[in-house]
């Protein structure tokens, strides 16, 4: 194989610039290190509060309790950020990836074998998140990896699913989260507060929907263009070559 040189042509910045910036960064690092050094070596933070209320949260893994119960605003807004990033990528039009007509039998077999395992593992991580490390984000990322594997194998979403069905799954996590959050407002509770006896089931329901949404969103981010737009219609970039 030919040796590939992918060097970019970039002029090395002058010694003066590098030195000045280096000294500035060193001063920044030193002052930050001093700030961390002067903090107390023992600090409980919020761990006592987290541990005290974990029975009421519906799950026994403290991180999942924080993510889906105590600070569920974060998770809710995070799902929104993910959607916004996806809309940003879609609005850029995207470059249609070159499709090779050649199907590699090894890759084909590997993806047929691995994708079901990924989906199974994603479900496992979702379930285990209630009482051990795991949860919606990790499960969603594994699901996205399955999607990436399929896209790398030139798999295409069928057109009948790429319109409404795709968008429905993309917003499912966010919509369900908000719906459940608001649902209990009418039962004399604040937004995103769940009754303790129902919390476990509700968290699992929200997490399942969030896993689907996160997984599909991340995989769509990798694809880089709206699958419902025809791949051969190139968007005019406005530049005359």
């Amino acid at each position: 194989m030919r040796k590939i040189k992918l060097k970019i042509l970039e002029k090395k910045p002058s010694l003066f610039t590098r030195l000045t910036l280096g000294i500035l960064m060193f001063l920044l690092a030193a002052s930050l290190a001093y700030a961390v050094w002067s903090l107390p070596t023992q600090a409980l933070g919020l761990s006592a509060e987290v541990a005290k209320n974990v029975e009421m949260s519906g799950v026994s893994n403290p991180v999942t309790a924080v993510l889906l119960n105590y600070r569920s605003y974060d998770t809710l807004l995070e799902l929104g950020v993910l959607l916004l990033a996806l809309f940003g990528v879609w609005s850029l039009g995207g470059v249609s990836a070159n499709k090779s007509s050649f199907v590699n039998p090894i890759l084909d077999f590997l993806s047929r074998f691995l994708v079901p395992v990924f989906i199974l593992f994603s479900g496992y991580l979702l379930w285990v998140g209630g009482f051990a490390p795991g949860g919606a984000f990790q499960a969603g990322a594994v699901l996205a990896a399955a999607g990436v594997l399929l896209f790398l194998n030139d798999w295409q979403l069928e057109r009948k699913y790429s319109g409404f069905s795709l968008r429905f799954v993309l917003v499912l996590g966010l919509v369900l989260f908000v719906a459940i959050g608001f649902g209990f407002v009418f039962l004399d509770r604040v937004f995103l507060e769940y009754p303790p006896q129902l919390a476990g089931g509700l968290i699992l329901l929200i997490e399942a929907a969030a896993t689907l949404s996160i997984g599909i969103s991340l995989a769509a981010l990798f694809l880089g263009r709206d699958p419902s737009v025809k791949s051969d219609s190139k968007i005019d970039t406005g530049v005359h070559k």
Binding site: V50, R71, L92, V95, L218, F222, T237
Partner: protein, 102 residues
Amino acid sequence: MTPAFLYALVGIVLFSIGLYGLILYKHLLRKILAINILGSGVFLVMVALAARTGDAVPDAVPHAMVITGIVVAVSATALALALMLRVDAETGQAVLPEDREE
């Protein structure tokens, strides 16, 4: 020298290196890599400071924030890469307009 302080220090150094690269290098892909390293440094400081509970379980709140942060970082990276490809398609160079070489 506790492990928590050691990792906090590593996080600070990573942050500084990332900032240095972000300012100095012109190619957008290198800038995106620099932002990712900078972000990892911040996450490392946060989790290291959460581990100062002695023998008890570490503080779960920063952990949850970092997990959210990691997912946001990857989606921001995907958006940044798409923007970079668009800049590259428009101008033929993956650099910011002020750094362009004619």
